[in-house]
Symmetry: C2
Subunit: 204 residues, 2 copies
Amino acid sequence: MTYKHHVPSLDRLIHELKKWPGVGPRSANRWANWLLKLPEAEIQKLRQALEDIKTNIKRCPGCFTLTEEETLCYLCNSTSRRKDLICVVEEPFDIARMEASGKFKGQYHVLHGTLSPLNNINPDHLTIEPLMKKITNGQIKEIILALDADMEGDITALYIGKLLKDRDIKVSRLAHGIPFGGNIDYIDEQTLGRALENRVDFSI
Amino acid sequence: MTYKHHVPSLDRLIHELKKWPGVGPRSANRWANWLLKLPEAEIQKLRQALEDIKTNIKRCPGCFTLTEEETLCYLCNSTSRRKDLICVVEEPFDIARMEASGKFKGQYHVLHGTLSPLNNINPDHLTIEPLMKKITNGQIKEIILALDADMEGDITALYIGKLLKDRDIKVSRLAHGIPFGGNIDYIDEQTLGRALENRVDFSI
């Protein structure tokens, strides 16, 4: 399906929008039409936001998440969070998801990726060294590995687990299992297998 | 579901993206993450395209579609299209859809809306007067009303049909084949092509 309007800047905008993940020609066309009718001021807000994410955002020197703070991010700066507990995540965006769960009140550490031998991503590409430094210097009691439940997540968890083997630190991973509201009929075998392996005691 | 990152420019971008039609917090979050990792040059292309649609595009004085040409648009300028046949559409974007059907080789006329008594859209808000002028001055033999199959489309077709009642001009509407309530933007080419071939007489 083609949506060629023969209006160069319009076709250019649609071309750019089609690059976005999961966006097809139909959606790109629809949004271009919508953007075209948007007031100048709204377009400016969007353009400014696109510029700002490039110029204002840097990495927090504490946990390596994204921040605009001059020194540490709002989480590292918080005085109400436990200092002896670190949750290791792959991406800065994972933090907002963890925070939404409302169940974690410790520190974070963003790896900025996962180990992937196939893609030549090795430990030097991630923030594993600063994580080890934190553990050596600090009073860390527990590390929670909140990594994706895929092969790269498994490899990375295994690697960090080995590094921490002889330290006096509790290391845990997020439980794998049936999602809340999930129906056993529709769960894939891998998930069900893990849910079975990691079954929890339910003696009442 | 909230995705608050506590990074002002990032949260602002997500806020802007959520305004887009059909975009929820999940998609806005995903795209913000993707845009964040995009190279500076790609962001610039997007920002430029957003500026260009506001500064470069004007209405063709012939058919009132969008164009960047100094005089007439590429369709009005074409020498290979019939001059005695006008297809009346609601929006500039409808033209790309009609062209994709490959069944129409005449001129277009963009109304820029439809009559809508409820929303106070009357004939003066549309390009109906220039359409009548074209018909009076020209050698137009047929008018095809390619309007959406909804109430506003019906009202507008009826109004134009009445204006052309005593003129020696064939007036037709796209065949029903378009489901009632359907929007031309979302019809596939085959259906649209058939609807064009089977257009029915609308002389009142």
